[in-house]
Amino acid sequence: MRAFRLLVQRDLRLAFRQGGDAAMVVGFFVLTVILFPFGVGPEPEILARIGAGVIWVTALLAALLSLDRLFTADYEDGSLEILALSPLPLEAVVVAKCLAHWIVTGLPLVLAAPLLALFLNLDAAGYPVLILAMLLGTPSLSLIGAVGAALTLGARRGGVLLSLLILPLYIPVLIFGVAAVEAAIGGLSFRPHLMILGAFMLAAIPLSPLATAAALRQALE
């Protein structure tokens, strides 16, 4: 457990020392969402209608943006091999790295989302649900993305390949994330959607590290 905590702290410290990572992801998120009014026009009704979807889709892309560096640095400087040899199982290493990744990129996305909802004139009823849904959904994004990041380690054109592999797997999170917000705005029950999002996360916590660790092992062989 101590080793786990240390690993998370190490990753966080690395991310903060280099800075930039979280800022870049949030910057991309905000800028891309801001492009939409230019694309579809500034009418508040249209923006309100598509707001939840735009925020979620952009959040997926922003999360994807930072994924290809999840393991690359450790892989290239050899610390990944040391981590694999450490007494901590590789699956736990993966969870720790995902947790750090989520704190650095997922959490800022959640915090930036209400601001963007404001820009897009989202109905006030949607705000709390949007935040809740993103809190439940973004960890799944980090976890699922970790599989792709591990699989594409050392591949040619890893970044583009990563998006091809991972975006289809993000569809369920997108569907239920948007549905929760739209249900809340429409005055319907949004609990089932949030529960399904939570179920995705709970399923991803054991399954994704399993696959990711397997992929990392074969990359290190």
């Binding site: 599989v147 699989l151 592999l165």
Partner: protein, 240 residues
């Protein structure tokens, strides 16, 4: 290798026969649908292609599991040989679905749950193929692809469930029932034969592709062996 050589011609003949009879029944014998008219004949391509898209993915996943658990080299080759065929069938299913949808629904594409799921499946195939070919070392690509195929197996039901659910939420205004309530025997037979024909075709081409991959392995080994003694270097160069 020898077994496949013995089976291959029979597979090829059986493929040609079933596809021939199936096509004949599909085009000449099966009656036009009372609602959809002659357009219903697209079904005899579309539905078997959809079955194959899933069947081939099942094979790919099975081969991947065998490759990962028992590290059997043949399983890797089988998976890699199957994937492009699966992608082909999935593409066929999508395009014929679109060609069927245009006269029936009035648009080339509807975000129907089934069409959408198949589209996602197509991207999974493409991702697998791209991943397998993205490494300089073929074994790494094979191993990574196998893991991805298994991840896909876990995800396909989840994606299917999400898309179904999403589709009932956004139900398009008018959706026609596919095929009608009951399928007459005169339609079932060609459908059945076409499906078997597609399966046999898949087996035949899969065998050819696996044999090709085995030969490629042999070539690699032979070339490595040739490279070892120094004086043979020039000879190996000219042969390659």
């Amino acid at each position: 290798m020898r077994l496949s050589a013995a089976v291959l011609p029979w597979c090829a003949i059986a493929t040609a026969l079933t596809l021939g009879v199936g096509l004949y029944l599909a085009l000449f014998v099966a009656p036009p649908d009372y609602q959809q008219g002659e357009a219903v004949r697209i079904m005899f391509i579309h539905v078997p292609a959809a079955w194959m898209a899933m069947f081939v993915y099942g094979n790919l996943a099975l081969a991947s599991a065998v490759a990962l658990i028992w590290r059997h080299p043949l399983a890797d080759l089988a998976g890699q040989a199957a994937a492009p065929l699966g992608a082909g069938f999935t593409l066929l299913c999508l395009v014929t679905g679109s060609l069927w949808g245009q006269p029936m629904w009035g648009t080339w594409w509807v975000w129907d749950a089934r069409l959408t799921s198949v589209l996602v499946l197509f991207f999974l195939y493409l991702g697998y193929i791209a991943l397998v070919n993205a490494f300089d070392e073929p074994t790494r690509g094979a191993r990574a692809g196998a893991i991805l195929a298994l991840v896909g197996v876990v995800n396909i039901p989840i994606i299917k469930f999400s898309v179904d659910w999403w589709n009932t939420l956004h139900q398009p205004a008018s959706i026609m029932r596919m095929g009608g309530p009951t399928i007459d025997a005169s339609m079932l037979w060609p459908l059945f034969l076409m499906a078997i024909g597609f399966t046999l075709y898949f087996l035949t081409v899969l065998l050819i592709r696996i044999r090709t991959a085995i030969i490629a392995r042999k070539l690699q080994v032979l070339r490595m062996a040739e490279l070892e003694p120094d004086e043979d270097f020039a000879g190996a160069r000219s042969a390659s």
